[in-house]
Structures are given as structure tokens and as C-alpha cells.
Symmetry: C2
Subunit: 278 residues, 2 copies
């Protein structure tokens, strides 16, 4: 089935997921929507994030996607169940894949989880981990400064090292051997996080695990693209933020081609015909 895979995120963090999709599923086309006009979601209320998630999903469905990846841990944490109930296509989030990998990898039965305030307060990772194995101990904490540090590009800066030490210190006493990167921005700070937490702790990139789940679903449901067809990657954003290309290309690991601006307007924005390429 040659329809594209749809991916949405609050902004550009989800490009780290697109990077994995593109390298694992070379025959699949991708339509990405980054809600850069309303980013970030992580500090906002559950109700607002849910509303944004529904609008973004409808936008992707208008582009004929066969499966939706919620490449935003916050939106996955608060909206995934509702999205799965409300739409006919498979909807894949970040939480369950990350939780399953963590349970599979931990030897000490003690897992740490970091994410935005909204993701951590939702306790979604804890629930998903305990649904897999109730005996696994979980410790979690929000790391709100990691997103602006990643976007500032301070990926090996002493300030980021200090913030990482401050945030991750409490995991030391919890005796974890796996830490879930529960925010799609965090893989950009992977090296600093690894140094602060110690080399004995395995980092789980939920986005990478979600891509494995997408691969399984496509196979199981006969949705895989036939090889040899045209493969495209289209990127839609609701704003072209300052430093967008610089940051976006760092996240995606390659130049962003085929970028379209879809301004959210006071009329139902996802129904608007007018889209402006840039």
C-alpha cells in the first residue's frame, strides 16, 4: 500500500523519529507535521494537548496517510487512547514501545524515565512498564530545560552538563540500569545524558523503538509499500521558527526538503486549501 506514513510532533523533535523511519523503512513515503506555531506541548494542559493532537491527526489524514505516528511523548501520553478510539488507521505512540524495550533490557529490575512535565505527571511510562512487568521499579522526573538546551544547540556545553548532573543525580540512589529518553528532543543530548548517568546505564530511545513497532504493524496488516515506487518525504509546519533549518537539520541528520507552511488560522486551519511553500 503506497500511501504515506503520517508523523506529527509539537515541533521539530519528531524529526529524530523520522530519521529512524527513513533509515529502517526506505520504501515508505512520509508526511510530517510539526506544530511549530504552538510548540512546546510539554508544559501545557492535558486538555489543550489533546485538542492539538486531534487537529494534527486530522491534518495528516487529509493527506491520505495509512498509519499515524505520534512522534511526541507528551501527546502520546495524554491523547493516544483517544486517538486510537477515534480514527480508523493504526496510531502508534512513543510510550509503549519505549516501556517494552526498558523492561526487556533491565537486569536490575529498576528503570528510570525522563521527559517533559506533562509526560512525567501523566505517569504513562510507569503504567506501561507495570503492564509489562509489575515487579519492575520505576523512578521518574521531568527535565524541562533539556528541550531549550537542545534547541540552543548546547549539545556539549558545560551548562548542559551541569543541568544533566542536577536532573539525573537522584537516579543514582535508585540503582537503575536503564533510562528511557521519554522526549524526542533528548536523543540530541544523548552523549551528555550518558556521561551524567554513567556508562553502566542503557539509554532507550523511544522513537527508535516506535519505528520497530511501525515496521511490525505494516507487515502484519499488509500495509507495506510495494518496493520500486516513488518515495517522498513531505514536511509541513505551522510556523517557520527562527533557526528552524539549522535546528531541524541537526535533528533530522540531513537537509529538510519539501517544506510547506500551513498557518493555523481563525478559520478551521486544517481545512484550508491555501498552503504556502517556503
Amino acid at each position: 500500500m503506497n500511501s504515506p506514513i503520517g508523523v506529527f510532533d509539537s515541533g521539530i523533535g519528531g524529526l529524530t523519529v523520522v530519521k529512524h523511519l527513513a533509515s529502517h523503512l526506505r520504501d515508505e513515503s512520509i508526511v510530517y507535521f510539526g506544530d511549530t506555531a504552538r510548540v512546546p506541548y510539554g508544559s501545557k494542559s492535558e486538555e489543550t494537548v489533546k485538542r492539538f493532537a486531534f487537529e494534527n491527526t486530522k491534518f495528516l489524514l487529509k493527506h491520505g496517510v495509512k498509519l499515524v505516528v505520534v512522534a511526541c511523548n507528551t501527546a502520546s501520553a495524554v491523547a493516544l487512547d483517544d486517538l486510537q478510539r477515534s480514527f480508523d488507521v493504526p496510531v502508534v505512540g512513543m510510550i509503549e514501545p519505549g516501556a517494552r524495550a526498558a523492561v526487556r533490557l533491565t537486569r536490575r529490575r529498576s528503570v528510570g524515565v525522563i521527559g517533559t512535565l506533562a509526560t512525567i505527571e501523566s505517569s504513562s511510562y510507569e503504567r506501561a512498564i507495570h503492564a509489562e512487568d509489575a515487579s519492575v521499579k520505576t523512578t521518574s522526573r521531568p527535565c524541562p530545560l533539556f528541550v531549550p538546551l537542545a534547541e540552543e544547540g548546547w549539545v556539549s556545553h558545560p551548562v548542559s552538563e551541569a543541568v544533566a548532573r542536577e536532573y539525573l543525580d537522584e537516579f543514582k540512589t535508585a540503582n537503575i540500569d536503564v533510562l528511557v529518553l521519554g522526549c524526542t528532543h533528548y536523543p540530541v543530548l544523548r552523549n551528555i545524558i550518558q556521561r551524567a548517568i554513567g556508562e553502566h546505564v542503557r539509554l532507550v530511545d523511544s522513537g527508535e523503538e516506535a519505528v520497530k513497532e511501525v515496521t511490525g504493524i505494516l507487515k502484519r496488516e499488509g500495509l507495506e509499500a510495494a518496493g520500486g515506487g516513488e518515495v517522498y518525504r513531505h514536511f509541513y509546519v505551522s510556523d517557520i521558527p527562527r533557526k528552524f533549518r539549522e535546528i531541524g537539520e541537526r535533528f533530522l541528520g540531513r537537509p529538510i526538503d519539501g517544506l510547506t507552511l500551513v498557518p493555523q488560522s481563525d478559520v478551521p486551519w486544517y481545512e484550508r486549501a491555501e498552503e504556502r511553500r517556503c
Copy 2:
């Protein structure tokens, strides 16, 4: 004239301006709109920030305000001229008042300006300072991490000290004696900024200067409230973010009463009758 003064900001930073308004103009009622669903503006495009500024102004006018304060440096920098041309009430921004105070205070004729990426890239402060006195030298730089640090509440944290030193270091060679806090969040970090820049540098809080300008306009145009009438402060927000009350009350310096949620919707949100108190 007993109509309220309208104030809008991208989120809660503008509460530092409301704090000054409330203490200088005790007889004036205030209607505040914080666009917490779409905050922050500082990293977003000029076009998007302009659109948001128009929507917010229309919302305040629907509430019968006699004057609009754009309590957001980013929105002031990119949208003030257009707002002033498009609406009949006086519209007061942050830039000119801050620039005027800086020119008045500098002895060395060398002024520093810090703000969001959008404010600094707009060069609005430089233009306003040079319009006052072309001989004053300006040095400016964006400090994008100050907003999340203020919201994280790290107002006397070693990490914030390190970030302030890193950001403000280049002002040392510029020989400034005045630094404009060109973002309404920054007064919350005032102590750290003062220590990093040195005690010989005067800090200008643009919000406080803007309140002096509002006082002058009300007097000049005969818009002052008659004393002895009912005075109210209404706060509207487009989202109730996590930690909202904790952060908001720190910014405002007192509890937030009379808070109303106005969700931005896919129908013209500022026309919606349905508002939900919370």
C-alpha cells in the same frame, strides 16, 4: 473613564508588567490575556507573532478596554506599528519606553540589550535608542535560556549563574553602563543578571518604563478612571499550563484571582461566547 486597561502577553511574563500597573495605577481596572496555549513567541516567525498579536488585541477590545499594553517585547518588536495603525485605542509597547530610559541613564553612551531571538533579530531596541540619540552605542544578544530558567524557578541556581555569565560576558568589552531587560520574564532573574554583569551597570525594566508611559497617556487623553469606582483585575489565558499558579504568582507577586480559560478553537476563538472559568 472607567473602562479597563487591556494587557496581553505570550504567556505569564506580562504579569511582571501588571504588577507595576497595579502598584502605580490603583484606580484602574485591568483585563489581562496570556496566550499560554501558544507561548513562547520569542523563537517564532515575525508573521506568526503578528497574527497572534492581532488576535489578542481583538480579544481585549471585545472586553471594552480603553488602552492596550503589549506586555511582550517580542510582539512589541514585530507588531506594534501595525497594531497602532489598525486600532483606535492607544497601544503601548515595551520597546520605546525601555529605549528612552536607557538613553536617559547611560553616562558612557553605551547600552546593552538582551531579549528573545525574535526581539534581538528585529533590531527594534537599537532603532528606538538611535531615534532618541544616534551617538549612543548599542550591543545586543539573545538569551533564549533565560525564559525556561525563570519558569523552572531557578532564580538563584548555579546553573542560571553560569548561563548568565556565558550570555553576558561579551558586554564586558562593550563598556556598557546600562542593560535593558528586553523580555518581561527577565526581571524575575534580575539578581542573577545584576551579579553577572556587575553592580556598576544599571538594569532597565522595560515593563516598568511602559507603565510610566501608560500613566502619561491616560492623563494627557483624559482617560483616567474616576477614583472610588469598582476596580477589578481579570485574567484570561488560552491554556492553564502545568505549574501555572505557582509560576504566575511568583511573577505577579500575589495570588491570581479571577482567572478565565479561553480555549482557542478551530472556530474564530476570540468570538466564542463559551468561556470556562477555572
